[in-house]
């Protein structure tokens, strides 16, 4: 494709070569990568100014998947927005559901039964495995693998999706959490399946790491590329594995200790360089920690109701007020800000999308790197356009 055709200044194929003259750097080439580009993870667009292969300027362009989630949510009921949250970050619908449920529960003071909290933790950690595995696959695809790591990642993803599907009925759009609990009680069989998955996942990770982590080409491609300083990361609101890769110890599972996370023993891996390799490795190590959490949660999950008996499905009208609820999603802090005016629809509904905010530092990371680096830096940010543009 000639993505340059997409430059608004050059509507026709062929007439797209635009010259940017900069007295300092001689001839710069402005390339518009996206919105259709194999490695922009959807319909993201970057206007990259190149000096040879080196990135001199990079301007992200958003909005190609802006589907008005917030506006629609303000015109529908609180419950009606739940399936829409699935479609925000469509790789991790379970954590989106949870973040939204937490916000609404904060807004309405709705308690959650203990079993539901455990189930939520289990699902969130499985989602983390899913997301990080897929991310590693996509990152390697950006590095130029011919699909093999991605295929292995999706092989494991299918196992997770089978679990999700047998629990919630849908592979991706689970729509599983409710305000005050979860929709379906997982059966013993399901929990056994989750245990089996947890037990096997470590082995898969070992193989995956054998394929990738020690690979000299990958180390050469990713180490020292796209480094980010902790100060900038904090100031720019970067969250999640990207923040921890810079060495900042900030994990909402520890800080907010929402749900029942305080009952599990796990560690937070921290990077030192903040480069692409660190971001990849932090995610791999986080997956290993997630497996630990899963083992503990699956071993100690209590019996009991899955839904708060007083929870309402229909006619849910929280009192006027506002609340901001957030959790540690796989991509970073995902938050929901809700303002209620006492009606069945939220007055203001706002998603704090982690990957959108994480993109703030994209240009800082890419400057001076080559265009091939820009691609993998974008890959390592882990964006999902449904969430970036909402």
């Amino acid at each position: 494709m000639s993505a340059n055709d997409f430059s608004p200044l050059a509507p026709q194929a062929g007439s797209h070569v635009r010259e940017v003259h900069d007295p300092l750097h001689g001839e710069l080439l402005e390339v518009s990568m996206g919105p259709h580009h194999p490695s922009t993870h959807g319909v993201f667009r970057m206007i990259v100014t190149l000096d040879g292969e080196r990135v001199m300027k990079l301007k992200p362009v958003f909005g190609y998947l802006h589907r008005n989630h917030e506006k629609i949510a303000e015109n529908t009921t609180y419950l009606g927005s739940m399936p829409y949250t699935d479609r925000l970050d469509y790789l991790c619908s379970m954590t989106n559901n949870w973040a939204y449920a937490i916000a609404v529960e904060k807004l309405s003071g709705q308690p959650v039964p203990e079993r539901a909290e455990y189930v939520r933790v289990i699902l969130a950690e499985i989602t983390r495995l899913l997301n990080h595995t897929c991310l590693a696959g996509f990152l390697m695809q950006d590095c130029g693998c011919s699909g093999t790591p991605l295929m292995y990642a999706f092989r494991e993803r299918e196992k997770i999706l089978d679990l999700f599907e047998s629990l919630s009925g849908s592979r991706m759009m689970c729509n599983y959490q409710r305000f005050g609990g979860c929709r379906v009680d997982p059966s013993a069989d399901w929990l056994d399946g989750a245990r089996k998955l947890t037990d096997n996942y470590g082995r898969f990770l070992d193989e995956f790491e054998t394929l990738l982590t020690g690979n000299e080409i990958i180390m050469a491609r990713t180490q020292g590329v796209g480094a980010l300083s902790p100060e900038l990361a904090i100031n720019a609101g970067v969250t999640g594995p990207m923040l921890r890769a810079t060495g900042v110890n900030y994990d909402l599972r520890k800080v907010d200790a929402y749900g029942v996370y305080s009952r599990f023993d796990f560690r937070v891996p921290l990077g030192a360089h903040g480069d692409v390799y660190d971001r990849y490795m932090i995610r791999v190590l986080e997956m290993r920690e997630s497996i630990k959490i899963l083992q503990q949660a699956l071993a100690t999950i209590p019996a009991g109701p899955i839904m708060d008996p007083k929870a309402k499905l229909r006619g849910f009208r929280p009192k006027a007020g506002e609340a901001y609820g957030r959790i540690e999603g796989p991509k970073g802090e995902i938050g929901f800000y809700l303002v209620s005016d006492g009606s069945p629809n939220p007055y203001r509904y706002r998603v704090r999308p982690p990957s959108f905010v994480n993109l703030t530092v994209l240009e800082d990371m890419c400057l001076g790197q080559t265009i091939a680096d820009a691609v993998i830096i974008l890959g390592s940010v882990d964006i999902v356009l449904g969430e970036v543009d909402r």
Binding site: V17, E19, E27, L29
Partner: protein
């Protein structure tokens, strides 16, 4: 055989002439590559296999790349491969000089009484013979050429990369 030679000669000279006349630098360069390939074909026709392949390898494989690199690197933008027209007086002068030289050369060649070689069979020179020639009587020249090549390589790299240390890696 003569027919083949005439065809090669005509195509080669025509390519060179058009290349020298074109405004588009890339086209000129590519036509010149074609011209070099034609000369290689002439060598082949003349029975100098080794030289022909060397010509292909050096000119078509290497010099052409360097030329194209230079063209690309020295253009303001990828669109302006068209050269500005040259001054008419220069062109006329060049044509006059060139025509004069051509006349002199043609006259000299046509008037000379160079007899065709007696040997009807194509003289071939095997790689082995060539090798022993190079290493035997011409060994000193070979050495000198080797030294010159090395020095030029280094020199070219240095000249091309004086300003920006990182951007001159491909000019040799």
């Amino acid at each position: 055989m003569t027919l083949a030679f005439l065809a090669i000669a005509f195509v080669t000279v025509a390519a060179a002439a058009v290349a020298m006349a074109l405004r588009n630098l890339i086209h000129s360069a590519l036509l010149l590559v074609f011209n070099w390939a034609g000369i290689a074909a002439f060598y082949l026709w003349a029975g100098a296999e080794f030289v022909a392949f060397s010509q292909l390898m050096v000119y078509v494989g290497a010099v052409s790349m360097v030329v194209l690199f230079a063209v690309l690197l020295t253009q303001r933008s990828p669109q302006s491969f068209r050269e500005q027209p040259d001054s008419i007086s220069r062109v006329i002068g060049a044509l006059l000089v060139g025509g004069a030289v051509l006349g002199v050369l043609f006259g000299a060649v046509l008037s000379s009484r160079l007899a065709p070689s007696a040997a009807t069979a194509t003289p071939t020179i095997s790689v082995k013979e060539l090798g022993s020639l190079l290493m035997g009587p011409h060994a000193a020249a070979l050495l000198i050429v080797g030294v010159i090549l090395t020095v030029t390589l280094i020199g070219a790299v240095i000249i091309a990369s004086t300003d920006h240390a990182e951007s001159g890696k491909d000019e040799s």
